[in-house]
């Protein structure tokens, strides 16, 4: 593990054309890392995430995404991801290929990826149309019972990027709260990058806490507030008001581009991004 600036970590580890997973199930979504990928213009990506959320809406709308593997593509509790919809419905700003799962299927694909198995198995997709449209879903007959079970091809990202609460002096990372498929996505990947809220001498980690050991982590960057507008349990809450505002911002191509240029491309780092969000709130 090496501790880097976010800019250097992304520049060094994220390359055009890669399969990337920025995970975190509603919680701990690595927004700052996604924004840095946008600032550096790293494109032609195959993105993997259970819930694409606002961060993939932004990457897709900025034209950096070639393929998407996912299982639920909405703005939680609000409605559509308008940039994802525009890419699928109107091929704007570029055509998007997509591979669609259920959550249980995606979870099995990450779990198989972490175990370095070629596929995951589940009693899933029964009576659904998803297998007809996604060749990554197939079936096997159980050798013991003869039952027909669904399979999903393993997902092994080139790079998985995650956000967490703490990194210690040796580079061990503590993840607390809703975990999603954090551990599975980390262990399925060839390289694992973390942004964290803070560096501490010793992790605030009771026995059996979720700790990703330092020798699994390729690099980490301390980015305070790095999950905003998602959240970091015990640090700051989910900004539900922003998630609701995003519906309006992203609805039209023009308002989306203007917002991205002002807030992401027009700022040097995540602190400046948050300051700009704050300026906008003070003015309104």
């Amino acid at each position: 593990m090496e501790l880097l600036s976010l800019r250097e970590m992304i520049a060094r580890h994220v390359k055009p054309g890669q399969m990337l997973a920025l995970e975190g199930f509603t919680h701990l979504i690595p927004f700052a890392a996604g924004h840095e990928i946008i600032r550096q213009g790293i494109g032609d990506l195959h993105l993997v995430r259970m819930t694409p959320d606002l961060i993939y809406d932004q990457l897709i709308g900025m034209g950096l995404v070639r393929e998407l593997t996912f299982s639920w593509g909405g703005n939680p509790g609000v409605g559509s991801l308008h940039r994802l919809r525009d890419a699928v419905e109107q091929q704007w700003p570029r055509p998007l290929a997509w591979h669609e799962h259920s959550h249980a299927g995606m979870a099995a694909a990450y779990t198989a990826g972490a175990a370095k198995l070629p596929f995951g198995v589940l009693r899933g997709y029964i009576g659904t149309d998803l297998p007809k449209h996604n060749p990554q879903i197939s079936h096997v007959e159980c050798p013991y019972t003869g039952e027909k079970l669904a399979t999903v091809r393993a997902v092994n990202p080139d790079v998985t990027i995650l956000h967490a609460q703490q990194v210690d002096a040796r580079g061990n990372v503590l993840v607390r709260g809703i975990l999603g498929a954090t551990r599975e996505a980390a262990l399925a990947a060839k390289a694992v990058l973390f942004t964290v809220e803070e560096q501490v001498e010793k992790l605030d980690a009771p026995m059996n806490a979720t700790v990703i050991p330092h020798w699994v982590v390729s690099a980490a960057a301390v980015v305070k507030g790095g999950a905003w507008p998602s959240y970091a349990q015990d640090y700051y809450p989910r900004d539900n008001a922003f998630y609701q505002q995003w519906d309006e911002i992203a609805r039209e191509r023009g308002s989306f581009r203007a917002w991205m240029e002002h807030h992401v491309l027009g700022t040097a780092d995540h602190r400046a991004f948050l300051q700009r969000i704050g300026e906008g709130r003070a003015a309104s």
Binding site: V78, A104, R123, K148
Partner: protein, 260 residues
Amino acid sequence: MSYSKDEMMTVAAARLLTDGTTCFVGIGLPSAAANLARLTHAPDTVLIYESGTIGTRPEVLPLSIGDGELAETADCIVPLPEIFSYWLQGGRIDVGFLGAAQIDRFGNLNSTVIGDYDHPKTRLPGAGGAPEIATHARRIFIVLRMSPRSFVPQIAFRSSGGFFEGGDSRERAGAPGAGPEVVITDYGILRPHPVTRELQLSGIYPGVDPAAAQAACGWPLAIAAELEQIPAPSQEHLDALRALHARTDRAHSTLHPLPL
């Protein structure tokens, strides 16, 4: 006493949850109904959200399936792959509480697409956790406002299976759970015919004409031989629901300090 159609629907859905039920909850109307039950007549309802929060008791309705409120008030939090494998597929869920964009006469759900899948007219968010909830939960409750656009003869895409092609086709396909037991709408309640499994109007809300329910349904909606007259919401349920929504609106519009 006056109440809205949505309030009637939410209370009718909540009343179907009995105390001590283990319930896997989707966001939106299902979450409102399940929490209303927990806050009133069914305090020991165990709510499970797909984010891995088990036995959660939120004070306000979560906007997302993974709000911190759900984690802070849970008995335990497990990794997401585990919630789907050990808990749902493991057969530990009594009731799966689902919504959708569209439903057909056999209770199959579409939350994926309107139009052609590869070239959609309207792309919807997709299936998420619902396909396996619909497969594995012992009983399925569905909450959905009724209109000819949402209750359709043919769904464009089957995201989650109900009774498939009707009859015993669900059982023959090997789905462990019993399938949709009830569809709670803003006109009344639909239940499957015991043999054909076609949904039919089995209960009607006060002051609602069954013909109006039939007009709001996209297929010729049959009416059960005995049509239950569903009582109006109690004052206790209405007060609890309104207070829950008021707390929720306040919480979701609160501007929190930025993490600078």
